[in-house]
Symmetry: C2
Subunit: 331 residues, 2 copies
Amino acid sequence: MTAPALLAQTFRGPFLENAHLGHAVISDTLGVVEAWGEAEAVVLPRSSSKMIQALPLVASGAADRFGLTEKQLALACASHEGAPEHVSAVADWLSTLDLGEPDLICGPQPSRDTDLKLQMIRDHEVPCRLHNNCSGKHTGFLTLGKFLGAGPDYVDPAHPVQKSCLDLFETVTGLESPGYGVDGCSAPNYATTVAAMARAMAWYATAHTRDDSLSKAGARLVQAMYAWPEMVAGRGRACTLLMRAANQPVAVKTGADGYFVAILPQQGLGVALKIADGTTRAAECAMAAILVKLGVVDAGHPDVRRFLNPDILNWDGLVVGKVQPAASLLS
Amino acid sequence: MTAPALLAQTFRGPFLENAHLGHAVISDTLGVVEAWGEAEAVVLPRSSSKMIQALPLVASGAADRFGLTEKQLALACASHEGAPEHVSAVADWLSTLDLGEPDLICGPQPSRDTDLKLQMIRDHEVPCRLHNNCSGKHTGFLTLGKFLGAGPDYVDPAHPVQKSCLDLFETVTGLESPGYGVDGCSAPNYATTVAAMARAMAWYATAHTRDDSLSKAGARLVQAMYAWPEMVAGRGRACTLLMRAANQPVAVKTGADGYFVAILPQQGLGVALKIADGTTRAAECAMAAILVKLGVVDAGHPDVRRFLNPDILNWDGLVVGKVQPAASLLS
């Protein structure tokens, strides 16, 4: 077993303050192209697996049966910030299914859109399940469940929706999953190696070159993500800004606890990384570095620099430190 | 150089999700009693050094000259949550100096007291410097500055207040500091080894046994911290709850980016630890484990368990994982 590698650090003045170790893999469809840390580390990819969890929705024919738009497919792959545009898009989608907020099983989460969050506090309004960052994914689950004629408990691992998700998760990762953990939104989240996850992202990156129906479904999801970057995350968030800053169509997706993946169709490459201590800021920094290394984004772009080399500010707004990626990621 | 050691982990279902490495030292006044990781790692102790930053305030005679109460001394050592009782106590103290909120240089910080924070949002009230978790420390700096007849820029490392702080920091750690970083509140924060910081805490733990004036000043600060645990942090916070849960008088103090110290007068021991990735939840877990090991708190006490072995809940309130300390901390 390889040790995790240094992926990012923070400094305060001249002193190293935090060191973030982890595992990162660049893969093509055949396997590892380059790796840092332990490529075979088995972890939960959390929301970085959302484009896999949305795959049965498209591959089954459910998306076409219910006439889902590209924007709705992007939402099915999203960890959105619960801004008004996300909340209304999910509510509208649910209504086309004759369903509503109570049918979601994702739990309520406060909006991460600052204006909406403050307005809801002032209006004494309680966050609901539509605000949950996973409400698009869950509406995708409900759409598939309706198509399959299955029951309402769609987060049960024995439910046809989750059995489809596991089946296609193992198909695109090319590995049997050793099991699952329950995610923040109550859905099962299947474990796999970082290398298998990167290879799955390479499968997505090359899906547009293949004619089989599963690959066509994957290609539609990738297309939806980079066509609607603001639906996948939101204003000021890493996924949205890095997709917009890219000099070519790419899809990137964060996951909780320091996971991050990228799909690079022009290169036919996939990337997966996990910060072993779970720090999101470090995962964003490491992913930005790998995208710079691969020539997908420019290190000098302001929306890249804010993740690659962000200043650390104190309460008075002074610059007191910085985040920086491990040199090995950029070489 | 020794590698950092595993200090805490989180699990989600059967899967390891996050591993937190770091350095921890139990020390007496002579030196290391037990260590995990690299005892000589040089880091910034951040707010874990507040009882040292308050030492010149007492040792100089300024605290007596201005008739400071024990409660005010606890506030000088605090990272308080900006609850109404903290804000009003700091405002009252400033007024006794004929000073006010604009004289603080700590920057504004939103209150971390939920009720006050929500009320301020509803009232469109902007957080001020009184709400900053360091406002007590800064009022201590202003008190010392007034006593010394020094100028208003008390966070300048060349200011007499900060020169006194550095002088006593080096005295109690027994090491020349290699320099400082600027803290979240704009004050210089001096670096030292984890071992030296633990030894400094042992100096505080034994201060009540010595007759020199510096030791008497240190003993007064320790006494103030454990007499006023709710002033040092606040309701629901680790420092306050662990001090209250202890079966003997102890003082514990968190610092940002995964630092934590403890002063154990009955054993004459000091503890210092740093989570190398900066995760507060892991630092709280590791400190709770060391306090259990040393017989200071009971692992079954609910206010210990919430830091030692907390459940991880998801948005729907389900238990989906747990935090646990490294076995080596408890053995």
